[in-house]
Symmetry: C2
Subunit: 399 residues, 2 copies
Amino acid sequence: MAKAKPTKRMGELPPFNRAEFEGRLERARGLMSKARLDAMLLTSEANLEYMSGFSTQFAWNTPTRPWYLVIPRIGRAVAVIPETGLTNWIATSWVEDVRTWPSPRPENEGLDLLADALMDVRRRFGRFGAELGAESRLGMPVGDLLRLKRTLAGFQLADCMGVMRSLRLIKSAAEIARIRRMCGIAGDVFDAMPKLLTVGDTERDLVRTFQAAMMLGGADKTPYTSIGSGPGGYDSIIMGPTTRRIRKGDVFLIDTGSRYDSYFCDFDRNYAVGHVPDAAKRVHELLWLATEAGIDAARPGNTAADVFAAQAKVLVDGGIDLGNVGRFGHGLGRVMTEPPSNKPGDLTVLRPGTVLTIEPSAMYGRGKILVHEENLVVTEDKPILLTRRAPREIPVIRA
Amino acid sequence: MAKAKPTKRMGELPPFNRAEFEGRLERARGLMSKARLDAMLLTSEANLEYMSGFSTQFAWNTPTRPWYLVIPRIGRAVAVIPETGLTNWIATSWVEDVRTWPSPRPENEGLDLLADALMDVRRRFGRFGAELGAESRLGMPVGDLLRLKRTLAGFQLADCMGVMRSLRLIKSAAEIARIRRMCGIAGDVFDAMPKLLTVGDTERDLVRTFQAAMMLGGADKTPYTSIGSGPGGYDSIIMGPTTRRIRKGDVFLIDTGSRYDSYFCDFDRNYAVGHVPDAAKRVHELLWLATEAGIDAARPGNTAADVFAAQAKVLVDGGIDLGNVGRFGHGLGRVMTEPPSNKPGDLTVLRPGTVLTIEPSAMYGRGKILVHEENLVVTEDKPILLTRRAPREIPVIRA
């Protein structure tokens, strides 16, 4: 058993206050009116916790019991949750109308209570929204949603992802503080990489060591830590860690989506073991400059497509073939990847409070790839970096 | 930055071999015939990875891009995945027919390719199964599933959770080895608790320290670590860690669902700081005996309800009011809670290879609760414990 005690941790950020939730609710109701929704049924971790303040690990790690939140356009919010979650709910959420059932009860997992709550909603448009649209993942069995739909015949099932997307696109100061905190913790661990890595470690062990350091530094969860490594460069940026050993001559990348208080950072750092190969050096410099351009383009009024274009121009001017690149960054918050996508055709207009990753990548050599990433928040003026800017040259770890 | 280097880790378990997947596929096809399904469309982490061998953190941490696996009753399996995942797929899955699209592409996230793959399926029953039923969480937007359903008019959408549940209920030796490994790592960390805890730590910091130790001990992920603490006892067993400080006189519980190679352990341990209060001592003894009874009842031919009844009898005989208790344990594997539920009415018959948690709990005093938990695998004969049995008396940490 290794010694695993932190030396020092910062105090925690204060919980979200009541005004934060009142603001979210008010904005939600305005957007619901525009979207012609009388209510929203929220079931996913990000949306349910965002609106209710409920905070739990339990609900999202077991699919046995669904958790429901009904936000009517007019009237009180209603939570319909498993009885076992009541203490947790009361301790964390402002929503006072909580209805419970003894779960597990597979033949009726709270569906009758949920139907009642929806039937009580004051109707103007005859439509309620559920999480159906792009980038959604429903937090209840689809079969039960379809059953509910039949029960509520006359109250039309529609999509609420547009409303939730607009709401969550603009982060509050308290939300930004959480992302900034998480970026700081990860930044410290990235800086400590020369101490963390033992040459000869497997990727898998290095990722464990990295994740442990994140915890000891104050992260709450490390859901995502990918690594790519190879002699002179790596060829994959999203893979789980393998049993490949890190050796002298390698270039490697670690990319992490980790959480402080339910908010993610999402960025990566590159390292070279022994020395930096010339090709990697050249491409890294281009990516660093592309990132600068991406950061500079993250201004209010610009679109996500503009942020892509600014990065792409630097790479193309530098002789990189963009090929079929998906996107150069995305939104960030309670989910590791949120809308928008920095890609051609995404005309989402950036506004103060939009948090983005700037993430250019380039193929080079024989199937090699390099990627770079920073996190920022759009302001009225210049964007503010939430990550400590990566070094312009790939850091070298002595082998 | 704390020092975070492990002293020693065990070698990794070998990957699942080809025969493992051939066996799963053969069993799946038999069950599909019984369920009158011509194909299954799998989209969730547990089911897609179980059938394909694909291993990724990326796919399940970003809802931007869905991943699809089509298992026909007759003919080749087809993967329909985002282009960016191809390298990862080829490196980890046996499924060779892989079709990709450049994602993100919100207007059509691979739906046309998926429809083509399903249209090619040889039909006998006219039905394909998707993840719709109890305890399912669909891994694609529901709106897209409904669109697919309209496109495939004539090929009826049905539920495949019954098939997947039956398949996954019986674990192979290689699966059990993973759960056993994870239970061993967690057991070592639980044993080290007296060294890990500094009296005065917040619950939140203690959980971070605990999770770091899990990583350094060889865990890959720590998705779930709840803690309950309080003077003389705790009143919640599923809550996230709070900023409450652990003090002399406290009884506390840590419960973890952590992963080695995509397989979970799920068990808890109790501790007392300074001394064990009498009430907690008495209830803990009852729970320890109830656990013995639950373990003993986990025999092939018995039902999950029998495992509940054996535990309940000990508690009721000991004077505990069961109240509205949900269940006394559940299945365990790629998901932290899998079917069955050890509860009245769950008539799932246990078979060799069924992995269960035995988890009796009892309310006592003024709103206090105690819980106990072990993990085991059912065999032809006596069950085999995968956890090191908890001490009969609550361990005391010196304050």
